[in-house]
């Protein structure tokens, strides 16, 4: 639109220890993706669309072993040089010699055979095995100028700080960099005309959420991606006209149960433990009501609404409904009864049932959730304790399935299949945080692996439906709620934000592609 004014500065908080002169996108903690560097494309999980950025199109061959990516016309680096398919091919091949940069392990996992630029605009990815999910990893790789990065020896890549960075993103001009604040301004060679509308982005460094809150309240920053306590009364109330927030659903939070151990090996016990929880109340009290309650036992939540199987949800609905009487009955039936009248149930053989729920020390919202969970369990006669552990212990516990119950999140990705890969693939046991619950089967492995072999959306959905059914039927983890996507924004200077009314993208700062879309959309009021 012509009436959009150019100019303005976006100020965002960065939680870190300060800025240093390092513009290597792979080692700078995601500061520059989508800002200094432009992705090929963005998979928008909110709309389900693919938003092409540097690329104009990307096509799979029918055998799903070749991907052909075409670049836009006349795209340039910020130093004015042309950005060609050779640059793109270089960017991908480079990560072969710098395995640490190989974000999605395309080389190390062995599936990618080659990346070649067939002409100035065309890049061809050749795969060893058919994999329709491969393409989702591409945005994780930064497109870098060969004329700069090609001069760096492979062994120096990890320590290369990329001084005077050349990029293709909307903001490539480093105005200044001070330990506590830095500013990037517009790329005059940006491939979209009049974009970005805004002139600059200012990064401000903060220690933690508790400092972002006053900064937001004082109007020092425009875009928050942080937990803010009592947001209506603190942030919104400070300036109701300009201060807004929108907390769409994010990843699903589950209570992981170690099904290899009694009494959790009994499905009814797991069901009872699920039914004992009043999820609405938990969300309301422990999390200020910000997250979205999850009544879906299929393993994925609101973030993936288009993929959720209504049938499965309906069929297993009872499991997620707050029903302490039923829960008690299930436990009674399972033989867990209070034999010694201490108010808590024992195993049929008289052993006491008492377990810890692991939660990372310092992750306070979860601690509160778990505290409430233990209260609900106490009401049905189950003794559970909150166990706050250092994350190293937590991490090890999850991976090596050294827990009885542990609160944990699910993967956030382009497609829910990635979450199921982490949940159930037998090869993930001992590696992934999500696979330690003990529910696995070769059939499910095959089912999951068959996903990549097809490009047919309907077939894929069928697989997902089956996985949801499997999850709900086995209940390796108890669904609680979907995390909120923390997102606060101020409209005093800038507008064009994604919002409930205009949900064009999931509003996460910490995703290069998503924020690229947003930055491109913001403009002066």
């Amino acid at each position: 639109a012509e009436d959009i004014k150019q100019g303005g500065t976006l100020t965002v908080p960065i939680i870190n220890t300060g800025f240093v002169e390092n513009f290597n996108p792979y080692t700078s903690g995601g500061l520059f993706e989508g800002v200094l560097f432009e992705p090929l494309m963005v998979f928008n999980n909110m709309t389900g669309k693919v938003e092409y950025r540097l690329a104009e199109s990307a096509e799979y061959s029918t055998d799903l072993k070749t991907i052909t990516v075409k670049l836009r016309d006349n795209i340039k680096w910020s130093d004015g040089k042309a950005l060609t398919a050779k640059d793109v091919a270089f960017s991908f091949t480079m990560t072969k010699s710098a395995p640490a940069f190989d974000q999605k392990a395309i080389w190390t996992s062995g599936n990618l055979e080659s990346v070649t630029a067939t002409d100035a605009k065309t890049i061809v990815f050749k795969l060893n095995n058919a994999d329709s999910t491969f393409i989702w990893g591409l945005p994780k790789y930064h497109i870098l100028p060969e004329h700069v990065w090609g001069k760096v020896a492979a062994k120096d890549l990890p320590t290369f700080t990329n001084p005077n960075p050349v990029g293709s993103g909307p903001m490539t001009d480093i105005k200044y960099l001070k330990p506590q604040q830095m500013q990037l301004c517009r790329n005059t060679n940006y491939y979209l005309e009049n974009r970005p509308y805004i002139d600059c982005i200012t990064y401000r460094s903060y220690n933690d959420n508790s400092q972002v809150q006053p900064a937001l309240m004082k109007g020092e920053i425009d875009w928050g991606s942080n937990f803010i306590a009592d947001i209506e009364n603190t942030f919104v109330a400070a300036d109701p006209k300009n201060n807004h927030f929108w907390y769409p659903a994010n990843d699903a939070i589950h209570l992981y149960v170690n099904t290899k151990e009694a009494p959790f090996d009994n499905l009814d016990v797991r069901k009872a433990l699920s039914m004992a929880l009043d999820r609405d109340e938990i969300v309301d009290i422990a999390a200020y009501g910000y997250p979205t309650t999850n009544f879906n036992a299929g393993g994925i939540a609101e973030l993936y609404t288009p993929y959720i199987s209504k049938e499965v949800t309906e069929k297993y609905k009872a499991i997620t409904q707050f029903n302490p009487e039923k829960a008690e009955q299930l436990l009674d039936d399972a033989g867990l009864k209070d034999l010694n009248d201490d108010g808590f149930r024992q195993m049929p053989n008289g052993d006491k049932v008492e377990f810890d729920i692991n939660v990372v020390n310092g992750w306070t919202d979860w601690i509160q959730v778990v505290q409430m969970v233990t209260e609900y369990y106490e009401e049905i006669g189950i003794k559970a304790n909150v166990k706050t552990v250092d994350w190293a212990v937590y991490d090890k516990g999850l991976k090596e399935s050294e827990y009885k119950m542990s609160i944990n999140w699910s993967m956030v990705a382009t497609n829910p299949i990635e979450a199921y890969q982490a949940y159930f693939l037998t090869e993930q046991v001992g590696k992934s945080w999500h696979a330690g619950h003990g529910v696995h089967s070769p059939e499910i492995d095959t089912l999951i692996n068959s996903f990549g072999l097809t490009n047919d959306v309907a077939k894929q959905q069928e697989i997902l439906d089956q996985l949801q059914e499997f999850t709900a039927a086995n209940l390796p983890f108890i669904p609680l709620f979907s995390n909120a996507t923390w997102y606060q924004y101020r409209t005093e200077n800038l507008v064009g934000w994604p919002s409930k009314e205009n949900p064009y993208v999931q509003p996460v700062w910490y995703d290069g592609g998503k924020r690229n879309l947003i930055i491109n959309n913001l403009h002066l009021k």
Binding site: T17, T27, P214, V412
Partner: protein, 324 residues
């Protein structure tokens, strides 16, 4: 002289012990930086990549002994390797960036609270029976026992957020270029008011009590009475004859206080987002950034040892009876 040599020997050994301890600490504890990185990425990182990343950060194995030798070497060559948190920036650079600010904060507040405390303490001992001597020290005892972070938060809340007369965070206004300009210096000063103020508020009581007790001990000495009998002015008696001796026990406490002052500055830096070592230390701990933690502890130990050494020198200078 032999006294100082002995002390020097002590410092060197203490230093060796401290850095060895530094070396052991991370190796005894669970978790490593890559796990931390992985946790921080919240699943956005591919597990297959972890080993590569581990290698990138230079966490190679080798016998503990080899590692130890390499570590000791790195300490003495001041080449402590890259930080994990701010990879690939050198730990030395990272620390160099924040050290001056911590020194400014910790030493500044130490010096101010020392001066104020000694003055108040001297006066309180002099007016021991009066209102001042009876009420000010207990009052300060209560203030200093208020949890430090709460004091800081309250100051932050009232002066920064409510009254908006002082900045909320940072060492200086980031839009100003550092330099010897009035603008910069005044910005630094303005940003230091709250952090330093809170540290001084909490730290002052120690010195008041230290000085007061030392003074009271000295005031009963014959040489003070003698000085009075000589008809010297009370100022001279207080400061030259009594204060000079009372400062001796306080001087040893100063060196100790450096360590505490640094500890205090950790909290301050966190609350006021001050760009100092404490802030980085805490972040470094969370990220298991061993090189950084080691470097900071190293600096800390060196600083405390240096301070002790200076205190020793000071003591020799202050107390002629020592020099032998």
């Amino acid at each position: 002289m032999s006294f100082l040599l002995r002390r020097l020997g002590f410092y060197f050994t203490a230093f060796l012990i401290a850095i060895s301890f530094n070396f052991m600490l991370p190796r005894m504890m669970p978790g490593d930086p890559i796990d931390a990185l992985f946790a921080a990425a919240q699943g956005k990182m591919d597990i297959a990549q972890m080993d590569a990343v581990r290698e990138m950060y230079g966490f190679m194995d080798g016998s503990i002994f080899e590692q130890y030798i390499a570590y000791i070497q790195s300490v003495f060559t001041l080449d402590l390797g890259p930080s994990v948190l701010m990879f690939p920036i050198d730990v030395t650079t990272v620390v160099g960036m924040s050290l001056p600010w911590t020194m400014f904060l910790a030493l500044g507040s130490l010096i101010v609270s020392l001066i104020l405390g000694v003055t108040i303490g001297t006066y309180a001992s002099y007016r021991r029976e009066g209102f001042f001597g009876q009420f000010v020290p207990p009052l300060l005892a209560f203030i200093s026992n208020f949890p430090y972070i709460v004091t800081a938060l309250l100051l932050f809340y009232f002066f920064g957020l409510q009254l908006e007369i002082l900045p909320l965070a940072y060492t200086y206004d980031p839009s100003i270029d550092p330099g010897f300009t009035w603008e910069f210096i005044s910005s630094v000063a303005k940003h230091a008011v709250l952090p330093m103020g809170s540290m001084i508020l909490v730290g002052i009581a120690t010195w008041v009590f230290n000085m007061r007790n030392a003074m009271i001990n000295v005031l009963g000495e014959d040489y003070v009475t003698m000085a009075e009998a000589k008809g010297l002015s009370s100022f001279r008696v207080m400061y030259r004859y009594a204060g000079r001796n009372a400062i001796l026990p306080v001087a040893t406490a100063i060196a100790m206080a450096i360590g505490f002052s640094f500890a205090g500055s950790i909290m301050t830096e966190v609350v006021f987002n001050y760009q100092g070592l404490g802030n980085i230390l805490l972040k470094g701990i969370m990220a298991r950034d061993y090189p950084l933690i080691q470097a900071i502890l190293l600096i800390l130990v060196s600083a405390v040892l240096t301070a002790n050494f200076i205190a020793d020198l000071l003591y020799v200078w202050l107390d002629p009876r020592i020099s032998k």
